[in-house]
Symmetry: C2
Subunit: 175 residues, 2 copies
């Protein structure tokens, strides 16, 4: 459901979906009980397909490294082509408008630029290896921000421990 990836679950109306399917709203209800079921079915299908692809990679005759690498590449392709909305994100433009949206994007960019500067400095003084800053930045912020999704206070690690170990792992990309 690429529409949903675009606009987000709640902001996508059944009419949007119907339009995308070249149907009318009523017609969609002939096939799906309700909106939740529709999203469920398609999400499930995508997950299952990804799962199958992953299983195939697992079964290939490759070194561990090559295998994990391939799994990652396949996964990335699925994410980007929207075949798996593994995670149903909300983009700022689904929440903010006009002036406000600009300001939020601006602040995020500022923040991101600071992070870039940190990476840049490290590369210049030779502490870090040369990398594509933009991508590494996305990786680092992405990995960290995603913690909102999975963090649970029930885990055995304290926030501080968690933060430290994640920082250390991510640092390895640059060392």
């Amino acid at each position: 459901m690429s529409v949903i990836a675009e606009k987000g679950y709640h902001a996508t109306t059944m009419e949007d979906i119907a339009a995308k399917l070249l149907m009318t709203k009523g017609s969609v209800y002939y096939y799906f009980k309700d909106k939740e079921s529709l999203v469920y079915e398609s999400h499930k299908l995508l997950l299952e397909q990804s799962m199958e692809q992953l299983q195939n990679v697992l079964a290939e005759e490759l070194t561990s490294v090559a295998k994990l690498r391939k799994a990652m590449v396949v996964h990335m392709e699925n994410v980007i082509t929207g075949r798996t909305d593994f995670f149903i994100g909300v983009k700022p433009d689904q929440v903010f408008e006009g002036e406000h949206l600009q300001e939020i994007l601006h602040l995020r960019n500022q923040y991101s630029d600071c992070m870039n500067r940190l990476i840049q400095q490290g590369m210049e003084d030779g502490s870090f290896v040369q990398v594509d800053m933009k991508i590494v930045n996305y990786i680092i912020l992405g990995a960290m921000n995603n913690a909102v999704i999975w963090y649970s206070p029930k885990g055995s690690k304290s926030i501080e421990e968690l933060a430290n170990s994640i920082a250390d792992y991510l640092l390895k990309i640059l060392l």
Copy 2:
């Protein structure tokens, strides 16, 4: 706004927010023009605070490595304590219910387990260093899934190139 982090932007009603603030809806409207503005103001505040913290880290007398590391730890802490919903995520339980939710979580776990197996294998045959699988898994999937947010077909890299370089960077965590 921790409520929003819990339930997601659209699913959080003004009454939820008001309740959290120990106010009534009408009261909230005395201070904020509308829902979008309310979320904007608080989001902006959080971003600005994070920005300031980051600037402070920038200004400290530390090696590049220590500086970036500290920036990451602070960021993680902000993300986890919900002080910065840098990214407004949607968790599966905000979309699916009951049976469906279980099935989606199950499929995601299966997928995640496969990835774990790949990491495990590599650690066992000595290709990878020893890591905390769970965390590294979150980092890897998190970094990748986040691409939905920032990927734009306008970029100079093809999907394949992008997927490959991200895979390579992430692999560094394990080598």
